[in-house]
Symmetry: C2
Subunit: 329 residues, 2 copies
């Protein structure tokens, strides 16, 4: 019965998605969306898929799932120095979807679109016999030729990271093995859980990255593995002072109590912070711009010559991590 009461695809789009669409979405009534690029700008494009029980859990709030799907894409744009221009959503819904779920999903998506200044442009909704599957394609704009690459790290550049590292990985671990977290306060546990559920893309740093960074990427598969990717792409290596890797109070306390969690923080993924290289002469101006938009920057190391794996120094010991320390796939 409930199945017959739910709207079909066109009704579902009109009811839930058209109200949150941006101007380029043309009311979601045509075959396609349209944007007029800013003259003298390139379009930067990224796509990320999220599958239930791989990238989120069925019990997660629908609005959180929607926000995360958009946030991980906006994070990619930010790392490339691109200002968000809009996104398209592909949604494969299992048979048991409900209108309540979809209403909450669309509300969260609309709110995230406003927060990230990244309007909904279009989409497609299909049914699946499998898990809920989302795919978001996001578009951004950069002045022509100014996209920040992974490949442009220079020997001698400083290595910086935004915000704090490891919270999301610890937040995810809380779900499966919460024993180590008994020493944390409820607020500290909530902070870690929230960082996993609600990535905070650094889109407000895009302009500063274009102006001051050498190379950049977002930290989605773990700081250590993503650093290895960026150094490999640039033909360089890095020397990292692991004690300078910024930790939240909650993460620091967790690691103090269970030192083996430091590895998880460095390799765990889902941080959605920006990892970048910065010529030393740019650092003050870069930091000033970051401060202006309320984003904390930490210098964690330096680009060095060579093709060896980057070295993380901590407490007089050295560790090396390869690409693939963590993979969603």
């Amino acid at each position: 019965m409930s199945s017959r009461e739910r709207p079909g695809e066109d009704g579902l789009i009109a009811r839930y998605f058209a109200p949150i669409a941006g101007e380029g979405g043309l009311g979601l009534t045509d075959d396609a969306a349209r944007i007029t690029p800013e003259p003298g700008h390139d379009i930067v494009l990224t796509v990320d898929a999220l599958v239930e029980r791989v990238h989120f859990m069925p019990e997660d709030a629908p609005g959180s799932i929607a926000r995360k799907a958009l946030a991980v894409n906006v994070s990619d744009l930010a790392a490339k120095g691109a200002d968000p221009a809009g996104f398209l959503l592909s949604l494969a819904l299992p048979e048991n979807w409900t209108e309540d779920w979809l209403a909450a999903f669309a509300a969260g998506l609309g709110e995230a679109a406003r927060d990230f200044a990244c309007p909904l442009l279009g989409g497609d909704t299909v049914k699946t016999a499998g898990p809920l599957t989302l795919s978001v394609t996001a578009l951004g704009e950069v002045p022509t030729g100014r996209m920040v690459r992974r490949t442009s790290a220079q020997v001698g550049d400083l290595i910086c990271v935004t915000g704090t590292i490891g919270d999301a990985a610890l937040g995810l671990r809380l779900r499966s093995e919460p024993a180590w977290a008994e020493t944390l306060s409820p607020d500290e546990r909530a902070h870690l859980a929230d960082r996993y559920l609600h990535p905070r893309p650094r889109h407000r740093l895009a302009a500063a990255l274009r102006d001051h960074a050498g190379a950049a990427m977002d930290v989605s598969d773990g700081l250590a593995g993503d650093l290895a990717k960026m150094m490999r792409a640039s033909g360089t290596s890095a020397l990292i002072d692991a004690d300078q890797v910024p930790l939240s109070g909650a993460a620091a306390k967790a690691i103090q109590g269970s030192p083996e969690l430091r590895d998880l923080a460095l390799t765990g993924g889902d941080d959605y912070e920006i990892l970048c290289t910065v010529p030393e002469m740019n650092l003050d101006r870069f930091r000033k711009e970051a401060d202006r938009v309320g984003i904390t920057l930490s210098v964690i190391g330096r680009v060095v010559s060579g093709h060896d794996l980057s070295v993380f120094r901590m407490n007089g010991r050295e560790r090396r991590y390869d690409v693939g320390s963590y993979q969603h796939f």
Copy 2:
């Protein structure tokens, strides 16, 4: 064992997708792709998802599945008068994927990308516990403000359709209920099956549509239902001479043998032909342009005033079909 031998996500991208990527894909080694839009052009965007057992069958050739996923998107671009600029692929692979399957899929995708002049720009590959799920986002370009809308049909315009209608729906029906097709030759059956498996997007008609059409859309959910959508979006109605709806020899023979199949041909979907309205004074030039790129045009009716459902006249009888005569969802 075979699972351990398969590459991880990065290896899979490097082995199968990077070799078929276009220049804007940056070797698929960065977080994002980049295109530099033609000055004075808009970007047109469309996304379509395909799910195994909904939009294709597991036994379909992997190259055919890949081609269809791209073709249905290029068809949307074509209907909007947009020239293809590139696409992004989101791929959720079930646990039992094999390298042979993926190699054939990527080969078919690369071939389709060349045929449609629509290069691979980027993508994301994830695992799923459910059916194979693909989502393609395609980008096209039109001179600014020249995207052909669904909403711009004018009373008095002629209604045209490209190619032939109904083949794909009959081709799909062949799979489940082949009895009616006994009178068809093997070649005729193969033609119908092929039209379902291998849509032929009309991207070569994009420029002529911009220059000569009033409104346009592609026929994906059935001629009758898609016409109803376009007329509703334009605030008009239509009078169709059903005998003028172009049929292939195979479809005509099938309908001659089983007249009830005419309804399936008109409502069945998956045609991926272009339905458009054309001011009468433009018809000769439009037809000439279509001839030049090898696409057959048929005039099937005329836009009339009013908000009633369009009328299909055949053999002195009249029929009306609403939106949703066929829906994937």
